[in-house]
């Protein structure tokens, strides 16, 4: 029994259509070295011609044991590690972790820090969605949007670099607030960026939204119902595209999100096109949030009063935020020492990836690529 069939035999797979012609199934390995699996995802496909009978995701090629590492680091030392999970949305990861530890220690970040956190996190959401759009379009065969989105994402990374010195793994926040004050001209630069990027988003939409081939490739592809989404624990834009108005920024506001006025875009059918539209609208909402936040950053300290040695009381905490890809949760068990007793991450990509099999069964090979793209997974986060 080969490796691939061993994996597949664990699954109840559909049988090939034998009423018309007798055909043999084909089992192929997609990945871990494949241009369209967004890293090192390996999908074992069982095909009847072009039709997908079943899939099995094999993950772990990028496993670094992040959760285990946490048990041997102090709370502050572990902070940079979370950036390496979802490396295209490192700021969000940091925000989730810092807030979780703050909640555990029962401290509050000062309002100014919260505003800076919101601005940077929303900028990061934009960057993450831009990267998603470029790669998703590339998977479907439109190569040009990739370069446009990367050009504009660059401007966001420049702001990050100016703020904290790093472009990708930013380590922007600290437990209790932010380490760095905003640099001189931060607000004008962000405002300038907002002006610059709004027409660019229209530009992406011009290339794709009404493009016949794009609509054909994404409409009714990878449909998932709201019920299935909830059953599988799928969150983020995927859940919202299925028509569930669930956004942690609204449902359980964290940081300073309760101060801002924004909408939660939702879709109807839960197909790939809806997810595309939802993410495009989300980008515009992010712009709205940043615009409001950057206008009224309060004065004051950026760091709460925290002890030199972070030693949370005995207890456990679950805190989650709305990362660009969905609900990013941290569950921390503290035994009162300087290191977490156990840290568990609820990564949105990992949970969303579960839906892949349900979404592509009965579809064609090309749809598998479209669905992997639309789920917006980052393997660094899936494997951790």
């Amino acid at each position: 029994m080969t490796d691939a069939t061993k994996y597949l035999s664990r699954l109840e797979l559909g049988q090939p259509d034998q009423t018309f012609l007798d055909s043999n199934e084909l089992i192929i390995n997609m990945g871990p070295q494949h241009p369209a699996t967004h890293g090192v995802l390996r999908v074992i496909l069982k095909l009847d011609g072009e039709k997908v009978l079943g899939t099995e995701c094999v993950i772990g090629y990028l496993h670094r044991g992040v959760e285990k590492i946490a048990e041997h680091r102090t709370y502050a030392m572990f902070n940079p590690y979370v950036d390496r999970m979802d490396y295209v949305a490192a700021v969000s990861n940091g925000l989730g972790y810092c807030e979780a530890v703050e909640k555990l220690m029962n401290i509050q970040a000062p309002p100014r820090a919260n505003y800076i956190r919101v601005i940077l996190t929303e900028l990061n959401r934009l960057a993450s969605h831009m990267l998603w759009l470029g790669t998703h379009a590339l998977d479907i065969g439109a190569i040009t949007p990739l370069f446009y989105t990367f050009r504009d994402r660059e401007e966001i990374l420049k702001i990050f670099e100016k703020y904290c010195g790093a472009r990708l793994t930013t380590h922007a926040f600290r437990i209790g607030g932010c380490q760095y004050e905003t640099y001189e001209g931060f607000e004008t630069e962000v405002k300038k960026f907002l002006k610059f990027v709004a027409p660019k988003i229209d530009e992406y939409e011009e290339l794709l939204t009404t493009n016949r081939i794009w609509v054909k490739r994404t409409r009714d592809v990878g449909v998932i119902s709201a019920k299935d989404c909830i059953a599988l624990g799928v969150t983020g834009p995927v859940l919202r595209a299925s028509g569930v108005k669930w956004d942690i920024r609204k449902a359980q506001p964290y940081a300073a999100y309760s101060d801002f006025d924004f909408e939660i875009p939702i879709g109807e059918k839960g197909d790939t096109y809806d997810r595309y539209i939802v993410r495009m609208k989300e980008m515009r909402q992010s712009l709205r949030i940043i615009e409001q936040a950057v206008g009224k950053i309060p004065e004051g300290p950026i760091m709460a009063k925290i002890p030199k040695v972070i030693k949370p009381p005995v207890g456990e905490i679950y805190h989650s935020i709305e990362a660009p890809k969905g609900e990013l949760g941290y569950f921390i068990v503290s035994d009162g020492s300087t290191q977490p007793y156990r840290l568990r991450v609820r990564p949105p990509s990992f949970v969303n990836l579960q839906a892949l099999d349900m979404m592509v069964r009965g579809a064609l090979v090309a749809d598998v690529i479209a669905v992997i793209g639309t789920l917006d997974i980052v393997l660094g986060e899936v494997d951790r």
């Binding site: 084909l26 192929i28 390995n29 494949h34 241009p35 369209a36 011609g49 072009e50 379009a137 590339l138 998977d139 479907i140 065969g141 439109a142 190569i143 040009t144 990739l146 370069f147 446009y148 050009r151 290339l207 794709l208 493009n211 081939i213 794009w214 054909k216 490739r217 064609l364 090979v365 090309a366 749809d367 690529i369």
Partner: protein, 416 residues
């Protein structure tokens, strides 16, 4: 010897028609050479144009503005290790690229670059072209099968299904053009490529404007089908990079892969040539009736020279804009030399005997070049079709429309 050459240059027969084997051989060599140069140029142009569409620069390092990049690539491919998968069917694996290249080049026997500039004028030229170019699918299936690997196999299956489907729509569009050619005084149509252009000359129109919009629709059908036929975006499913890594040539590398590359580009040029011959007036210059007379003839005959002079000026602007650092001295000199060569060619093309002789080839090449630009443009703009949608477009849209156009053309031909 000189007499022999001049006597041939004055004749108005193709080498094939004159039964002159030596000249036919010279023509074949010239076409092979020109085609190879065209493919190399296409390689550079595609990367450059696509890059500028995508807000990047494209090749810039090897030679000024990356002009020597195709040469470097070709060298790299030639000296690469020759890998053949252990499980592959050796003979078929070896034969497949040769087969594909052979068919792609054979087509050019009947392509009329001018009234006499074709290797031969076959009376079934169109059939020959369609037949031979569709043989290339066999080479692709062979490649997919011989690789003994899943991705190439799926790619080859897709490719064969796609090419077979689109050939029908293509054939229907071609038939309506052939029907249009039968509307001359003698009332006889022709399948000869040269005859088709001559028919357009006699009817004082390009077939794309004939029975408006019938000719245009037929041309559009052909234009879509030819993209599918050559497996280019948005119909590049057989080699869909994001799905099948590289489709039927996944297992190929080095020289063998370069043969597939060569075949793909020469097939693109070949089908573009058919489109140009059948609908865009072949070697005819634009506005032959509207802007007629000796003055206009002279103006249009200056175009080939002007084009090269323009390119030379372009190169010299590049020379001026080159960074003045000593590191770029050789590159600047190279670009200046390149510009000088282009300018010299331009000057030679102004000389009356050359000018008259080169006219037809020039206009034909310009039309083909526009078609090639469209290929690049599609690639920069469109996402890729899914397999079933591709089939739907072929069978449910192009085929019925093609039949409709064919019938209407026949009716229009009888009534008008």
């Amino acid at each position: 010897m000189l007499d022999y050459i001049t006597s041939y240059l004055k004749s108005d027969l193709t080498p094939g028609a004159a039964g002159n084997v030596l000249w036919a051989f010279v023509y074949i060599l010239l076409i092979f050479l020109g085609l190879s140069v065209a493919v190399i140029a296409m390689n550079w142009l595609e990367r450059k144009i696509l890059a500028h569409m995508q807000v990047r620069l494209g090749p810039m390092r090897v030679g000024p503005h990356g002009l020597l990049q195709p040469v470097a690539d070709a060298l790299k491919l030639l000296i690469k290790e020759d890998i053949m998968p252990a499980e592959a069917d050796k003979v078929v694996f070896w034969m497949a690229p040769l087969f594909v290249v052979m068919t792609a080049f054979t087509v050019f026997i009947v392509v009329p670059f001018g009234p006499t500039h074709a290797v031969t004028d076959m009376n079934i030229g169109v059939l020959f072209m369609l037949g031979v170019s569709s043989l290339s699918v066999l080479g692709i299936v062979m490649a997919g099968w011989a690789s003994n690997s899943h991705y190439p196999l799926i790619g080859a299956l897709r490719s064969s299904a796609q090419m077979v489907s689109y050939e029908i729509a293509m054939g229907l569009a071609v038939i309506s053009a052939v029907l249009m050619s039968s509307l001359n005084q003698a009332g006889t149509g022709t399948l000869s490529m040269i005859g088709l252009v001559q028919a357009q000359q006699a009817q004082h129109t390009w077939f794309v404007f004939k029975f408006f919009p019938l000719g245009l629709i037929a041309f559009v059908i052909f234009a879509i089908a030819m993209v599918a036929e050559t497996n280019r975006a948005p119909f590049d499913l057989p080699e869909a990079e994001s799905e099948l890594t590289a489709g039927f040539h996944t297992e190929y590398s080095g020289f063998r892969w370069s043969l597939f590359f060569l075949a793909e580009y020469s097939a693109m040029i070949a089908v573009s040539s058919i489109a140009v011959t059948l609908w865009l007036g072949g070697w005819m210059r634009p506005f032959p009736t509207w802007l007629s007379g000796e003055t206009w003839d002279l103006v249009f005959s200056l175009f080939p020279g002007l084009t090269f002079i323009f390119l030379a000026v372009f190169a010299f602007v590049g020379v001026v804009r080159m960074p003045k650092h000593p590191y770029f001295r050789i590159q600047t000199m190279g670009l200046a030399g390149f510009g000088a060569v282009l300018g010299l060619i331009g000057l030679v093309l102004f000389a009356p005997p050359v000018r008259d002789r080169i006219q037809d080839i020039y206009w034909f090449s310009v039309k083909v070049a526009v078609s090639m630009y469209m290929y690049i443009w599609y690639r920069g703009t469109f996402p890729r079709y899914r397999f079933d949608q591709l089939m739907k477009v072929g069978w449910k849209i192009l085929l019925p429309v093609g039949i409709g156009v064919l019938i209407l053309t026949a009716i229009a031909g009888v009534w008008l």
